[in-house]
Symmetry: C2
Subunit: 351 residues, 2 copies
């Protein structure tokens, strides 16, 4: 049976990428060696790293003001590393709280500076994106989470500010075009839209750096990794390789414009069914609905188990909702096909 | 042509492991999904994590006093995390300096406590293991690097102390039996003897924890990961999976006793040729020679390029020595076969 993976992360990757990744784990580029066993200093792997960096630059339209790093430790490590590297103890940063991941980012940043939460949608269980807020003039940056995996909301416009934006883009990076010049820093755990678990993309504008006075352990200092092109220590080679393959696929499929068109069309099919079908209702406010994570609940709780069983029977896996929201969640990242969406919609039509 | 991978790390893994890893990247256990795309919370992946932890416990003979973690960030992150988690600012720890990695561990630990370097072999470019030293009575632990990848030395006996040992075992873990009860903590980047780059094994005795007063970012606190079974955030799933496969292979091939026998026999063939062949000489003192990384130099520098070309022609890759030592280095971890050693020795015999 064909499987459609609606898991929130680690998540679906293009079939061709998984095929190529599997083959390279056995024999990479006809070297007679696996990508898993070659030195990160070999010319074969440095070519992978160079291409990965260059694809990020190209897809995000980055100019020379930006550095591109592949680190490890997940977005969860960037919650504290961003503040540790960019904020002195008496500095202020503005944070927008749109859910679980924003809250964690806020809690970790508070260990390093004054964190001013300028807006939150916690009053309605994070079912919307706050749009009106005042940002203190002395803030060094504005941090937000562009897409909220758990609650199914997404910023469809950048926060209104002249300050540099810092964004946790883990769950919607490379899903739509971006004005990268507005960002002081972008970070993303790979395992949603970029690759498998195990590497974290960090894009940082150089002028954000060199302003803090604290003593930072070498491995936690962005400058360490910038100086060594993400090779200060052995990088997570295979996750970076698979991310590179995924970015190649994004580029070959129309780049970020192509992804946006494809993602809008896919999401529309699913949201249209949610709005049409009297058995279901959407969780997020319509104008803030995520094109990546579609959250919906049954009108009658009694159908939940039957619906999930019918999803399984149709090959649709990972549709169970997160416990903070309940109901259902379909994660429909770049690699999800219209065919997959249609399979899920067909199940919904039976209810 | 058959390839023999003598790379220092990322390094050779068993052929069967790379084959199985590649197949799982395409379809894991007949699920119709790749190991790269399934949720870390799925029962299929939690079974992988559980088996990985249980194999570590079994191979190292750990009792219930120890916790087993799979983290990321490499051994380089453990250089500071160990001291950050285990040492208060006024506490003292004893460190033995046997080379590049020990020095880095010392430098990072100094940010968090009083580091007393009780012994060093820097006077002879780290070509031996110091054996006589005094450890201050108030030290909380003794840190050492069990095998020195760059210089080709290895501790063949544990440091003499009643204090808990903390050991960077990145390049010889699972290569020989171990009295694990002597250790307060063991850590190892996967990419030499355990798996591919991207995960770090941390084994920690519970009574080492809970003694520091500093405020530690959540992701850097061992207790965070202990409480969540290495699943506080999305773990580096594929590197952990491949490490699990490698440990299965170690167990199936005689466990640590089997590895030791195999490693001793392999290393003997190579060291015997180094000692016999007038064109080469060994770098490390004989009694401290590493069974994992065999360092040797040409008696006449003029043969270096020819020898490396002959290695390449025979399928022996990664034999070039590290710049700190020069000459040649053959890394012969668990997965290196006697056939591979013989191929290299055959090349040496031509000189």
């Amino acid at each position: 049976m064909k499987k459609y993976n609606f898991s929130a992360g680690p998540a679906i990757l293009p079939k061709s990428v998984m095929q190529e990744a599997g083959e390279a784990a056995i024999d990479f580029n006809g070297m007679g060696l696996s990508i898993l066993e070659i030195s990160h200093r070999s010319k074969e792997f440095t070519a992978v790293m160079d291409e990965a960096v260059s694809l990020v630059q190209e897809l995000l339209g980055l100019n020379d003001d930006y550095e591109v790093l592949f680190l490890s430790g997940g977005a969860s490590s960037q919650f504290f590393m961003s503040a540790m590297n960019l904020l002195n103890e008496n500095d202020t940063a503005a944070y927008i709280n749109t859910g679980t991941w924003s809250k964690k980012a806020i809690a970790e940043a508070r260990k390093f500076g004054n964190i001013n939460v300028v807006a939150t949608s916690e009053d309605e269980n994070f079912s919307y994106i706050p749009k009106h807020y005042e940002i203190p003039g002395d803030a060094k940056y504005v941090h937000y989470t562009s897409n909220n995996t758990i609650f199914g909301t997404q910023f469809h416009e950048l926060p209104k500010t002249d300050l540099p934006l810092i964004c946790d883009m883990s769950s919607d990076i490379f899903s739509r075009p971006l004005d990268s010049s507005r960002f002081g820093m972008i970070y993303a755990g790979a395992q949603k839209n970029m690759g498998p678990a195990g590497t974290t993309l960090v894009v940082i504008r150089k002028d954000m750096l060199g302003k803090v006075t604290r003593d930072i352990p070498t491995m936690l200092n962005y400058e360490t990794h910038i100086k060594k092109g993400s090779m200060f220590n052995t990088p997570p080679a295979f996750p970076i390789f698979v991310s590179m393959l995924t970015m190649r696929w994004v580029k070959a499929n129309g780049g970020l414009e192509g992804m946006a068109k494809h993602n809008e069309a896919k999401a529309k099919i699913l949201y249209d069914e949610i709005d049409r079908n009297p058995s279901f209702k959407g969780v997020a406010r319509k104008e803030d609905r995520s094109l990546m994570n579609v959250t919906f609940v049954p009108v009658d709780d009694g159908i939940t188990a039957d619906f999930l069983a019918a999803c399984d029977a149709a090959g649709c896996s990972g549709v169970k909702g997160h416990r903070s929201v309940g109901g259902f969640r379909a994660s429909i990242y770049n690699a999800m096909t219209q065919e997959g969406i249609q399979a899920l919609v067909d199940v919904m039509k039976g209810f």
